[in-house]
């Protein structure tokens, strides 16, 4: 455990996994808040404004946590992965710098206006502020996914005489096909989190017979968004992402499925424990020929197993990769089922009385977080042993000057810090949920006079 490489990997993995608990909710909630604000304007119904205001508070808390845990990510490229940064800065520095310039400034400005400017802005301007927060957070997400996509599938670059790489096609980098699929898949994943959380809190209000009006709005909005996003998650985005992996990282596909031997008519494993020493699965539960069909649309197509690739190119933690992938897919399937049933009950106008379903919806909230985390683990562990796929190995990229001891010191520091953050976060969110969606105190509403006074 004193390997510096291991510490630096754990360092990044821990901080980025924790970080992404927050952006997935803000990116998922942002479009839903825009929907609520639009309904408020369109139906001239103050209840939707109250709903939007409640979610803006939850959004705000998550956003702050996303920012404070996000800044370390940008630093760690240099602090913990300096050899990689020196090598690839001429490419991924571009997308990361663009995120700062185009997305962060926009987000910080409009979030301030959205959260604190309701009485200074007209209703339409306030809608616009909400829209820009949504736009900014999704733009931010794109630059990050484009950065990761270049590491998964490097395109649009050339090697300089000093051995480092530089972007040589701006649009090639930005419109990397991998990035487009990964972004679509990732963003619908974020909307699933946003929708399930909104539904869960709505279900909690309905079950406890508090804020029933608002609870119904939350549940309705959440279920419609959740059904759409859960379906998009499977097709076309999940399918498209899968085809990218099959085409460009076939060894990753074999490892995700724990397919040790190349075979025609390969089965799709539902459960079972991979054993890399024996090269087989314990207690397998599989659908025959399904993997061949899903990958190549032919039942008897040959799928390459791990044996078709040199061992030094195998992902270095096959069991964890395999489990992450299967947890993601399994939960994704359950999400579709849950949303289909509740959408049906909603359509038949039976949902608000069906307490058993509300209980399920309320308790479902944590699972999209697990699925999104498992999805990213699949992507990043699947990329191993490469840091930049086929170009630079992970073992070549870390900061050689930073010892394992220093790495452990700061990793433990982050763990302590994030424990405190978690406690504060849960406390604040719990308090907002208990406080509930209530209207603006009178006098705080937007009036022409207030706008004039505050503009002076």
């Amino acid at each position: 455990m004193e390997s510096a490489l291991l510490v630096h990997r754990l360092h990044f993995a821990f901080t980025v996994t924790y970080h992404y608990l927050f952006p997935q909710l803000t990116m998922g909630l942002a479009p839903l808040i825009v929907v609520l604000k639009t309904l408020a304007l369109w139906k001239k119904d103050e209840r939707y404004n109250n709903a939007a205001r409640f979610w803006a508070k939850i959004f705000g808390i998550n956003f702050v946590l996303g920012v404070v845990t996000g800044i370390p990510m940008e630093f760690q490229f240099g602090t913990n992965w300096s050899h990689f940064s020196r090598f690839a800065g001429g490419v991924i520095g571009q997308t990361l710098a663009m995120e700062g310039l185009f997305a962060f400034f926009l987000e910080s400005t409009f979030l301030g206006l959205f959260l604190y400017g309701e009485k200074r802005l007209s209703p339409k301007m306030h809608w616009f502020a909400a829209f820009m927060v949504f736009f900014g957070s999704w733009l931010s997400g794109y630059f990050i996914v484009a950065t990761d996509a270049w590491m998964q599938h490097p395109v649009g670059y050339e090697t300089l005489p000093n051995g480092t790489v530089m972007v040589n096609s701006f649009w090639g980098l930005i419109l990397n096909r991998w990035a487009l699929w990964q972004y679509a898949h990732n963003m619908s994943g974020a909307v699933i989190t946003g929708a399930f959380v909104m539904t869960a809190i709505g279900a909690y209000y309905l079950l406890s017979k508090k804020h029933v009006d608002q609870g119904q709005i939350f549940v309705r909005t959440g279920i419609i968004a959740g059904l759409i996003a859960s379906c998009l998650q499977l097709f076309p985005t999940g399918d498209g992402q899968g085809r990218m992996i099959a085409q460009h990282q076939p060894v990753t596909l074999a490892a995700m499925e724990a397919l040790y031997n190349t075979q025609p008519g390969a089965p799709l494993l539902i459960m079972g424990q991979p054993d890399s020493h024996k090269g087989s699965i314990d207690n397998p539960l599989a659908v025959p020929k399904m993997l061949s069909f899903l990958t190549y649309k032919r039942w008897n197509a040959e799928v390459k197993g791990l044996d078709a690739f040199p061992k030094e190119d195998w992902p270095d933690n096959i069991p964890l990769l395999y489990y992450s992938y299967h947890i993601m897919v399994g939960l994704g399937t359950i999400f579709i089922a849950v949303m289909l049933v509740s959408a049906f009950l909603l359509w038949r106008k039976k949902l608000f009385e069906a307490r058993w379903m509300l209980w399920i919806l309320m308790l479902s909230a944590p699972f999209p977080y697990i699925a999104n985390t498992a999805g990213w683990l699949t992507a990043e562990m699947g990329r191993q042993p490469w840091l930049v796929y086929g170009v630079m190995r992970t073992a070549e990229g870390y900061s050689k000057m930073v010892s394992a001891g220093n790495g452990w010191f700061t990793l433990l520091g982050f763990m302590g810090m994030y424990t405190v953050l978690s406690i504060l976060f849960l406390f604040l969110v719990y308090r907002e949920i208990e406080h509930g969606p209530v209207g603006l105190p009178s006098g705080d509403k937007f009036t022409k006079e207030a706008a004039v006074v505050s503009a002076d």
């Binding site: 240099g78 710098a97 301030g112 300089l160 480092t164 700061t410």
Partner: protein, 349 residues
């Protein structure tokens, strides 16, 4: 083109120090000038809508540094590993302090978060000053352009320095005083009454210290790094920069005693820009100097990326910076004017 990017990164860092500098300063001050919970809340409200936007300049500057000079980014960030990690923790503590004090209803916890916020602000100001001190003093770069610095060794400026030695501690203290004055002046422009008076008093007390520390640090810099005078000797126009530093320092005192709050604050901005600009002018074309063999210096030429990358980036950067400036102008206009102490604003700021 590489020099242009050097200028851009330097300008963005100046923007960061000038902008985030005043909210760091206000944070360092707010326990001193705010005696009651209400007064502290008012100080926080003066920076409430802008502090996180100000912090974005650090990320934007870091991003530009990353792609324009990858080796510099890689070397400096891994070499300054420990202090940077602590800067991250302090930035977090500060954000926790300010955000949770706004959300917190209990006076006990508000006092706690106020203290966190103030401590984070003070330490960050010192760290930033020490960081600049390290860049000016030089670091033990190896032939591959990397280094690693422990937090301290023997506190001397020598061949095996630590992050902290007498020179960088001096820079840190200077930065703390300069940013506190800067923040104090900002608070005077945004408040009235008691808070305004107390902030004025802090500036009056600290100004002589700032003047003395500035002179001391210039003397110390020339003493430990005579080579930094090369650019000034080659191009005497460069002496305008120290002239700007002292001119703005004197004008600051003059406007401050006349009660012209905004002019004094602008002088403080110019002072900070002059100090940083002077450092950038002195080290150019080096970007990180070796404390040992000068052949190991990191320069613009040996850290820069390829020309296409710089060319493409200047296009999007020009567009992006116009938007960024527009947002800032808009945001500052929106929240311009003095902050009142009235507790009517239930939304925090």
């Amino acid at each position: 083109m590489p020099t242009l990017w050097f200028l851009i990164v330097a300008l963005m860092l100046v923007a960061y120090v000038v902008l985030d500098g005043f909210d760091l300063g206000a944070g360092a001050l707010h326990l001193v000038i705010g005696r009651t919970d209400e007064e502290r809340a008012t100080v926080i409200r003066t920076i409430g809508p802008v502090w996180d936007g100000n912090e974005v300049w650090l990320l934007a500057a870091g991003g530009a540094l990353y792609f324009a000079f990858p080796l510099l980014y890689a070397s400096a960030f891994s070499g300054f590993y420990l202090p940077l990690m602590m800067v991250l923790w302090l930035l977090m503590l500060r954000a926790i302090g300010i955000e949770f004090r706004v959300h917190s209803k209990s006076p006990v916890w508000r006092a706690f978060f106020d203290t966190i916020f103030a401590a984070g602000s003070v330490l960050l100001a010192i760290f930033y000053g020490a960081a600049l001190g390290n860049v000016v003093r030089g670091v033990p770069l190896n032939t591959e352009g990397y280094f690693f610095l422990p937090l301290w060794t023997n506190w001397r400026v020598g061949p095996t320095p630590g992050i902290l030695d007498w020179y960088t501690v001096l820079s840190g203290v200077l930065a703390l005083v300069a940013l506190t004055v800067h923040g104090g002046l900002y608070v005077t422009t945004k408040t009235e009454g008691t808070l305004n008076e107390r902030a004025r008093k802090v500036v009056s007390v600290l100004w002589p210290a700032l003047a003395i520390l500035t002179v001391l640090s210039l003397i110390a810099t020339v003493a430990i790094r005579p080579v930094l005078l090369t650019n000034f000797k080659a191009q005497p126009l460069g002496y305008l920069i120290p002239l700007l530093v002292f001119g703005s320092l004197i004008a600051l005192f003059f406007y401050h005693s006349k009660g012209r709050e905004k002019s004094a604050f602008i002088c403080s901005c110019l002072y900070l820009a002059g100090m940083l600009g002077g450092a950038a002018y002195a080290v150019y074309p080096n970007v990180l100097m070796a404390s040992g063999d000068a052949a190991n210096n990191l320069t613009i030429a040996n850290t820069v990326t390829g020309s296409y990358a710089m060319l493409i980036a200047i296009r999007w950067w020009s567009v992006g910076i116009i938007f960024a400036i527009a947002y800032f102008v808009f945001l500052y206009r929106m929240f311009r004017g003095k902050v009142t102490t009235a507790a009517g604003d239930s939304h925090g700021y």
